[in-house]
Every structure is written in structure tokens, then in C-alpha cells.
Symmetry: none
Subunit: 98 residues, 4 copies
């Protein structure tokens, strides 16, 4: 890929255009990589909080479930449970009144 020489010409997909695309591409890649780096750092922080909680005697599995449920809409959760109950009933895993 050639570097941009600062002047434009009328050639379609010219060397200049490619050089510009290259610069743009670099910028995009850098921005994304920076953001992903920060995102990974936050993921690490979250893991650390769970680890600390575990060290204090909390059940991390239950903790994660709580977080998940708080995120989930209540009605949706009830719907899920209704479907599950229907299936379990069909398999005889629950009694009619249950």
C-alpha cells in the first residue's frame, strides 16, 4: 500500500484512496482494541468481586443467579416457570396440584 502524497487525482480507487482507507482502518482498529481492553478490565474486576465474596463465605453460584434474576423481567421469569411446569407435568415429574 502506498502512502498518501497529499494530492488528489481522479483515478477511481487510487493509491490515495487506499492510503486514506488504511489510515481510517488503523484508527478504527485502535479504537476497538482500546475499548475491548477496558471491557476486559471490567470483566476482571467483576471476577474479583465474586472471588472476594466467595472468600467471605458467599455461594457464588447463588449470587450469579440473583444478579441474573434481578436483570430479568419478572413477568418473563414467571412465563418461563409456567412452561417448565407444563413440561415437567407432562413427564410426571410434578403432581397435578403442584
Amino acid at each position: 500500500m502506498a502512502s498518501n502524497n497529499g494530492t488528489a487525482s481522479n483515478g477511481a480507487d487510487s493509491a490515495e484512496a487506499q492510503g486514506a482507507a488504511k489510515q481510517q482502518l488503523r484508527a478504527i482498529v485502535e479504537r476497538i482494541e482500546r475499548l475491548e481492553e477496558e471491557k476486559a478490565a471490567l470483566a476482571a474486576d467483576i471476577r474479583e468481586v465474586y472471588a472476594e465474596a466467595k472468600a467471605n463465605g458467599f455461594d457464588t453460584k447463588a449470587l450469579r443467579q440473583v444478579i441474573r434474576l434481578r436483570k430479568q423481567d419478572l413477568s418473563e421469569r414467571q412465563e418461563q416457570e409456567a412452561i417448565l411446569a407444563t413440561y415437567m407435568h407432562a413427564l410426571g415429574m410434578l403432581e397435578p396440584g403442584e
Copy 2:
């Protein structure tokens, strides 16, 4: 569930201990939810960069491939070398410390 706060009487699993655990639980949940919120915001930022790139004519699939490649790149070659070394070691072609 969690640690005692030092002012409680010696009753095992006393009301004080339970209250402390409850406060700790709240704190943990809040910290995690806050961090996940920030993480989600970053994910949104990343999506936005891709969308903007796409609007500028970039192929997002290619972009993602480039990002992935750059992430793997170094670690990839390092793993290749690690595999070779471990393989040779397993066959007694290298000494343990080598």
C-alpha cells in the same frame, strides 16, 4: 454466611451476624451491577464503532476478523512454540529445565 462485626455476642449465627451478611450481600450485588453496567456501556460503544465503520464502507466481518487475528497473533505463535517444546520434552528430547 459471613464474618462477624466484632460487637456481637458469642451466639453462633446471631442476628447481628445475619444483619452484617445482609449488608455485605447488598454491597456485593451493587458493586457487580455497577460494573456490569459499565461493561455493557463499553459493549455499546464498540458496537457503535463498528456501525460507524460500516457506514464508511468497511466490511464489518473483515474488521472483526482483523481484530480477532491481532488478538490471537502473538499468543498463537507462543502457543505453537510451547506445544513443540512440551512435545519434545514428552519424548525425552529435551531436559526438564530446558
Copy 3:
């Protein structure tokens, strides 16, 4: 829930349809559980091979690395080539069909 068996009356979600769905559900669950059982057996076989290898002095970590390498090997190089091609295409250095 599922398809009608052709002999039922035209009542929507009739007792017949529900019974059919129930039978279908049972069949599905049984098939899946059977397949998972076989899958678990194979996983046990694999573990056994590793254990035997270890007993013969092989480094299981190295073995796993070798297996992983052989699995990636071909697909890896193919992906590398795909990335390069897509990258060049994204920068207009290759025509679509190329």
C-alpha cells in the same frame, strides 16, 4: 404445542393434540437422554486413554496440546488465508469474486 395426528376433531388445542404433544415430548427427552449417555461414555473412554498414557509415562498436558494442535492446524491456516483475503477485499485490493 405440536402437530395434530389427523384423527382428532377440529377443536384447537384439543385433548388429543395435548396427548400427542405429551407423547412427542417423552420421545424427545428419551432420545436426548440416550444420546447424552453414549456421549458421556465416550468422554469416559477418552479420559481412560489419557490415564493409561499417563501411566506409561506420557505428559498428559503435552498430549492434549498435541491433539489440540492437530485439530487447529489445517483450519487455522485456512482461516489465516481467509482473513488476509477478506482484509484485502475490504481495502479494495481484490475484486468481490476473487
Copy 4:
């Protein structure tokens, strides 16, 4: 790596030993790869059953949950629910009597 010439000598970690290890390694790798192939085939079968069920109108998410629950010991499941309830109560997500 040298091939095995069929004769033994007294050299520790001799070429013969290495050749034998090589043959053994090949055999192990082949066995594992064969088993993993079969395992992958079963995984594909399972995916297919789920896909078929989905095509017949079943909710695969609920289906997976049913399978999981049937695998899980009942008492263990009750224990999980008890822990969860305790946590949710502590966060005010459930009323005392609930």
C-alpha cells in the same frame, strides 16, 4: 527422530526408546482422535434432535432445563432453591411469607 531398527542397545533414552515412544504416541493420538470424532458425531445428533423438536413447536430452552433437572438430584435442587430464596429475601425481592 530416528526409526526403530529392531535391535536394543544399552544407551539410556536411546534412539530405540524414542522410536518406541513415537509409535506409542501415534497410537494414543489416533485412539483419542477417533473417540473424539464419535463424540462430536453424538453432539451433532443431539443438536439435531433439539432442532427437530424446535421445528415441531417445542421450546428448546425449557426442554434443556427439563433434561438438566432430571439429571440433577431432587434434594440438591431443593437446596439450591433454599439458598436462592434466602438471598432474594435479604435483598427484599421476596416477601417474608413467600
